[in-house]
């Protein structure tokens, strides 16, 4: 008995050790690591929301030593992200494993509006959705408007002289303005600006009547009491703005988010994709990132792989319909 037990134990130990050894060996053999600095394309200009977020992620990775090769951020804001998309697509044949990109909703709208670019986002490699940014409707405190009813009345009375400032043309902010115009019977005039910061300034300086900025863009003026949020484009109220009802509560079934995701070049190898997915899962789980999410009122869980691709295709369809309704396609 004793002998057999020992043999069994011995076998088990050898087996276990062998298994451990083999995983160790195969682990080192298979784990993909970048062979040179990784190009970290930012689909927006320096200083904007996407840029700040990208630099935070880069900082976290560098600070914690999570990557053997550094990420080098490059801003490619040209053509509402068209330049960045074409750049990534161009890497498909040359070197798909060392280029990743921080992306937002222009990931859907730009290829839809510029079919000539020949971009199909279904071919891009999903890495991670790091957050979804939220939208609220804001007015200046001087307007005296405190809720949606008063807003609708005031905007209706002003007609085409009501100025809604927003970021970019035929992008997120204009889609939301269009929704408000359609569901409240308004004729607000949409005036595009180059970034959320400029839009916030227009409202704070009373040059515009309302905005649909992200909380991070409007936060400073909100804390100072210059601007007031009226309603949120989220499914439930935002913890930072408990007094702003959602449009769902107000009887308009409308929810809209801005994705903050990381995408890889088309044709990226599975091993490289797994490496980047692991890397950004670490960033997502870090206390710094979670703190940033709370502070900036970000939502949206981590999405990776096929789930992220499904999410993209679904969102693309939603944006196609919205743009079609606006006659922009």
């Amino acid at each position: 008995m004793k002998v057999t037990r020992r043999i069994i134990l011995g076998c088990a130990l050898t087996l276990g050790f062998g298994a451990a050894l083999s995983t160790f060996v195969s682990g080192t053999a298979l784990a993909w690591e970048p062979k040179k600095p990784v190009e970290f394309v930012i689909m927006a200009g320096q200083g904007g929301g996407a840029d700040k977020m990208a630099r935070l992620m880069q900082t976290l990775i560098e600070k914690n030593g999570w990557a053997s090769k550094p990420l080098t951020p490059i801003n490619k804001p040209g053509g509402s992200g068209a330049e960045a998309l074409v750049h990534l697509q161009g890497k498909a044949d040359s070197d798909p494993d060392h280029t990743i990109m921080v992306t937002l909703n222009s990931f859907y709208t730009t290829p839809l509006r510029q079919p000539g670019l020949g971009i199909d986002i279904a071919t891009f490699t999903p890495i991670a959705r790091m957050a979804e940014d939220t939208f609220l409707l804001w007015v200046n405190k001087d307007s005296g408007i405190g809720n949606m009813e008063e807003f609708a009345a005031a905007a209706k009375a002003a007609g085409k002289d009501w100025v809604m400032a927003g970021t970019g043309k035929l992008q997120e902010d204009q889609l939301l303005t269009d929704f408000l115009n359609a569901s409240y019977g308004l004729e607000m005039k949409y005036v595009p600006y180059k970034g959320g910061g400029k839009v916030a300034k227009q409202l704070a300086g009373n040059h515009a009547n309302s905005t649909v900025n992200n909380p991070s863009e409007q936060e400073g003026f909100f804390k100072a009491g210059t601007v007031v949020p009226l309603a949120a484009f989220t499914p439930t109220r935002l913890p930072l703005f408990p007094d702003a009802p959602t449009f769902r509560e107000l009887g308009k079934d409308f929810v809209y988010f801005m994705q903050r995701s990381v995408v890889g070049a088309p044709g990226m190898s599975d091993d490289a994709a797994a490496y980047y997915q692991g890397l950004f899962a670490k960033v997502f789980a870090s206390p710094e990132w979670q703190k940033y999410r709370t502070k900036k009122s970000l939502q949206g869980d981590l999405l990776q792989g096929q789930a992220l691709k499904d999410y993209w295709l679904n969102e693309r369809e939603i944006h196609r319909q919205m743009l079609e309704k606006m006659g922009a396609l």
Binding site: K52, E62, S80, E83, Q171, Y193, K194, E219, G220, K295
Partner: protein, 506 residues
């Protein structure tokens, strides 16, 4: 009184050994980044932001602010020594700095640039310290119509007072405006002037590409042609006596420096404008108020002092809306703002109350940074002068390589390098045909600010052009701009009438 107390507390923070060390390192790093063609404070701050996590937030922002400052000083160096704008903000410094170096007055230009930077920086920090909150509200009052009026004024200072051929100046401005229109049109959301469907045109033409092309490559070609390779070396020597002699002459430029500083500071405060338009406007105004406008562009020290005072003043000015409103006044402050968010602060109107130590530590450190920047800069002048002693056959390849690096660095795309070479050849030809180049550079800087502001104002006013004259701030600015624009026309008519009389009586 309260301000003085805060400032003293700030100095206690800024003068701790760590912060003092951080200021000195920041200034030196900034000086060299600024002196590298193509790399400016934006690149420096963006590249080094992730490194600042080793120190507490206050030290981190002090480091980046010192770097920002150092880069403003450094930008002048390659503008003067090589004729390549070291940073976008130093474009105007090339206009007269380079001719001065060619005349053998490089030391005077460098000392002038350093002292003007110090003067502009210090004056604007004093203004900042005393009047930050009320000035912040001015920034908010500037809507689209006001911004456009201001840009019109900037153009007017160049057209109206240019001693150059007016039609050629206007042609040069138009060329610059066309190039500035390339890329995405934000009002329609459509790409514009994407020549031959080359994707690189989608991001528009970075004006540094134009500036380095014209002043780096174009100037090099020009120099080679006129000297046939046997360039007269610059004979500038550096001596204490020389500096003292220059000081006397430089004291005479205090008026230009003051105007430049004030202008730079106020333009810097305005979101979207930043230091480059500020320094260009200061140059224009210096020329306008000068008794001898014809000497500008040919090596006039006031033409170096004005933009250098202005760009340092503007970099302080740009921090004002960043700290008081959470709105960046320049691309560099936009990145600093991103840093503040990462450090866990909420930029915005409440920052002065919530983060007293941070804000006043930063303000006090600006005084310290300025002091060290001017010292370090003057200390390095002999090194820079040594560069000029190289024969042009050695210097030309250096300029060529630095220009290529400068064209590539900001966007890291070869497209920009080819474009820069094309601009270099174009600039050389324009120069041969005696077209002024500065207005083209001005136009490509101001165009992207002026055009959307014009269209946004008109969209809001339903196409009514009177907004530019009826609004309380925009009105006076527009009127002054129009007067400056039509001044040469009146002159022309007056001269014609005079000539007629003269010929009539003859």
């Amino acid at each position: 009184m309260e301000i003085i107390q805060h400032l003293l507390d700030g100095f206690l923070i800024a003068l701790t050994p760590l912060n003092l060390a951080v200021v000195i390192v920041g200034v030196v790093v900034g000086l060299f980044i600024g002196a590298m063609p193509g790399l400016g404070s934006v690149n420096g701050v963006a590249i080094l932001l992730p490194m600042t996590f080793l120190v507490p937030p206050t030290s981190a922002i002090i480091f980046l602010a010192a770097l920002y400052y150092g880069a403003m000083y450094g930008g002048a160096i390659s503008s003067i020594m090589l004729g390549i704008p070291g940073a976008s903000t130093a474009v105007a410094t090339t206009f007269d700095g380079r001719p001065m170096a060619l005349k053998g007055e490089a030391d005077k230009a460098l000392v002038g640039a350093a002292l003007a930077s110090f003067f502009g920086g210090t004056l604007s920090i004093l203004l900042f310290t005393g009047f930050a909150p009320p000035l912040a509200s001015i920034a908010l009052d500037f809507g689209d119509a006001e911004i456009f009026a201001l840009m019109l004024l900037a153009f007017a200072t160049f057209v109206g007072l240019s001693g150059d051929d007016i039609p050629k100046t206007i042609f040069s401005i138009c060329i610059g405006l066309v190039f500035s229109a390339v890329g995405l049109d934000i009002m329609s959301g459509e790409p514009r002037l994407v020549f031959f469907d080359v994707i690189g045109f989608m991001h528009g033409i970075n004006f540094l590409v134009l500036a380095i092309g014209i002043y780096g490559i174009g100037e090099m070609l020009w120099t080679i042609e006129i000297t046939r390779g046997e360039s007269a070396m610059s004979k500038a020597v550096f001596s204490l006596r020389g500096i003292l002699a220059h000081l006397k002459e430089l004291l005479g430029t205090w008026k230009v420096a003051t105007i430049g500083s004030l202008l730079g500071f106020f333009v810097g405060i305005l979101p979207a404008a930043g230091a480059t338009p500020g320094s260009l406007m200061a140059y224009g105004v210096a020329k306008l108020t000068s008794k001898n406008p014809a000497s500008f562009g040919k090596g006039e020290v006031a033409g170096v002092v004005a933009p250098e005072a202005a760009n340092n003043a503007a970099s302080t000015g740009a921090m004002l809306p960043m700290l008081t409103l959470g709105i960046p006044g320049s691309p560099t402050t936009a990145i600093l703002l991103g840093g503040m968010v990462i450090w866990g602060m909420v930029p915005g109107p409440t920052l002065f109350v919530d983060e007293t130590e941070f804000v006043w530590g930063l303000i006090a450190s600006l005084y310290v940074a300025n002091f060290f920047a001017v010292l370090i800069n003057i200390f390095f002048i002999p090194v820079f002068l040594w560069m000029l002693k190289m024969p042009f056959t050695v210097l030309a390849p250096v300029i060529f390589v630095l220009s290529l690096v400068g064209g590539f660095a900001p966007t890291q795309s070869m497209h920009d390098v080819w474009l820069m070479l094309a601009f270099g050849i174009g600039g050389y030809l324009m120069r041969k045909l005696d077209y002024p180049l500065a207005p083209a550079v001005l136009a490509i800087v101001l165009g992207p600010i002026a055009e959307p502001a014009l269209r946004q104002s008109l969209l809001i006013s339903n196409g009514d052009f009177t907004v530019f004259v009826t609004r309380p701030i925009a009105g006076p600015i527009t009127v002054i701009a129009l007067i400056l624009l039509f001044l040469p026309l009146l002159k022309l008519i007056r001269d014609k009438v005079k000539n007629k009389k003269a010929s009539g009586s003859a």
